[in-house]
């Protein structure tokens, strides 16, 4: 008896190495999750400390705002605590936690967009494709700064694909967009970033 999952499994991306140390870490993580599921806050704090860097990084890159990223990170861990019962341990806690945070970050982005309209980040690629200002192109624009100026949809896909190392089918499962849309957004993000870094 064998089953094939057609590209729906979402992991931590290409950077998730597989080694004996990882197996040991996962076993320890599972023990912490079981304790947390039983209501042990110390165990949950350990899970927080081990995962907050990755969670905050992806929230920060999607939200492009320190205070918003901190808020989403907090929300994600509070939500995880409330929903620990639904985590059965078939995947790594880090992966589950990461997916929860990515979805919250994307939801917050959509909510903020509706609430505030277009501010610095916009889904309109024209805003990023405008010619340089009269005083000339800004020198030394690094990748993080260029990323922050991308349209949110393109930025999210670039972060998930090229920074975090997820495949398009994984991104589709996480974000709810079609795989083709994910590819199109990535293409746009790469083109805009190359143009920005060229200036």
């Amino acid at each position: 008896v064998s089953f094939v999952v057609q590209g729906v499994e979402v992991g931590l991306g290409r950077r998730a190495a597989s080694s004996a140390a990882d197996v040991e870490r996962q076993a320890r993580e599972q023990a912490l999750v079981r304790r947390a599921q039983a209501g042990d806050r110390d165990a949950f704090e350990q899970l927080y400390r081990e995962n907050v860097g990755r969670v905050y990084a992806v929230c920060m890159r999607i939200a492009c705002d320190t205070s918003v990223a901190e808020e989403i990170t907090q929300d994600a861990f509070v939500r995880a605590w409330q929903r620990l019962d639904s985590f059965r341990g078939e995947s790594a806690f880090a992966s589950w936690m990461y997916t929860l945070a990515v979805n919250l970050a994307l939801t917050e982005r959509r909510t903020r967009k509706r609430r505030e309209g277009r501010v610095t980040a916009t889904d309109d690629p024209g805003a990023f494709e405008e010619p340089p200002a009269a005083h000339g192109p800004e020198p030394g624009m690094d990748l993080e700064r260029a990323l922050a100026k991308l349209p949110p949809g393109a930025r999210s896909v670039f972060v998930l694909h090229d920074v975090q190392g997820h495949r398009h089918d994984e991104i589709a499962a996480m974000t709810g967009v079609a795989t083709g849309t994910s590819k199109a957004q990535l293409h746009r993000a790469r083109r805009l970033l190359r143009e920005a870094l060229r200036r």
Binding site: E9, Q37, G39, F77, D85, E90, S95, A173, G176, K183
Partner: protein, 223 residues
């Protein structure tokens, strides 16, 4: 191959997604075209820079005290959320209805099962507790691990959107996921008694596929 075509396909080229013939055409063009070669160099430099960005960034302050202050006692989820969107509701209801109908039909079409599988309509619809199957009762077969990992990730995505759902939608979606889980448990039990049954294997696989499809449609509708 033209420069425009190369520009269009450059992403797939550097990502290693081209077929052999197209790959060879790209190689030839890049060899002869300095402009496109420069585009390729730029793209590879961008990807290298992206891959070098830190995957982990510590927040500037410790967020734990505020998180801890918001942690209530761990209790089973209860209560329903506000009604927000008709598109959401329709998509979720359609997905759930399709699952129940398709699953009922599938189960009725399995007359040669060695162990009878109860119709899904007999599942306890009134119990909408979101913890779908108690951990102790969830003993999957080794071959199901891929599906279980997939559904767990999709459930995490669903959890992130759950608060945006109408109560009616949550009730229907989770009620039907519960029905699917009940069916899975029965199929699994039958498969343990008759592990060589290809019909049961197919049915188990098809039921998992439906669960994945429902979760994907629900999360996609929320996006």
């Amino acid at each position: 191959m033209t420069c425009a075509h190369v520009q269009e396909r450059l992403d797939d080229y550097v990502d290693g997604l081209l077929g052999e013939a197209e790959f060879q055409e790209m190689e030839l063009h890049l060899h002869d075209c300095p402009e496109c070669r420069e585009q390729e160099r730029e793209l590879r430099a961008l990807l290298a820079a992206a891959a070098a960005l830190p995957v982990e960034i510590p927040p500037s302050r410790d967020l734990w005290p505020q998180i801890e202050g918001r942690l209530g006692p761990r209790v089973p989820r209860a209560g329903w959320r506000r009604f927000t969107g008709s598109a959401w509701t329709l998509a979720a209801l359609a997905a759930a209805a399709a699952v129940v109908l398709a699953l009922s039909t599938t189960l009725r079409q399995q007359p040669r099962l060695t162990t009878p599988v109860a119709p899904v309509a007999e599942a306890p619809r009134e119990d909408t507790t979101p913890t779908l199957v108690p951990a102790a009762a969830w003993q999957p077969l080794p071959a199901e691990q891929g599906y279980l990992r997939a559904t767990e990730q999709l459930l995490a995505a669903y959890e992130a959107h759950r608060s945006e759902l109408a109560p009616e939608t949550v009730t229907v979606v989770e009620g039907n996921l519960k029905i699917i889980d009940a069916a899975l448990a029965q199929i699994r039990e039958a498969l343990r008694k008759d592990p060589t049954s290809t019909e049961l294997s197919r049915l188990l696989s098809a039921t998992h596929e439906r669960k994945v499809q429902v979760l994907r449609r629900v999360t996609r509708a929320a996006a």
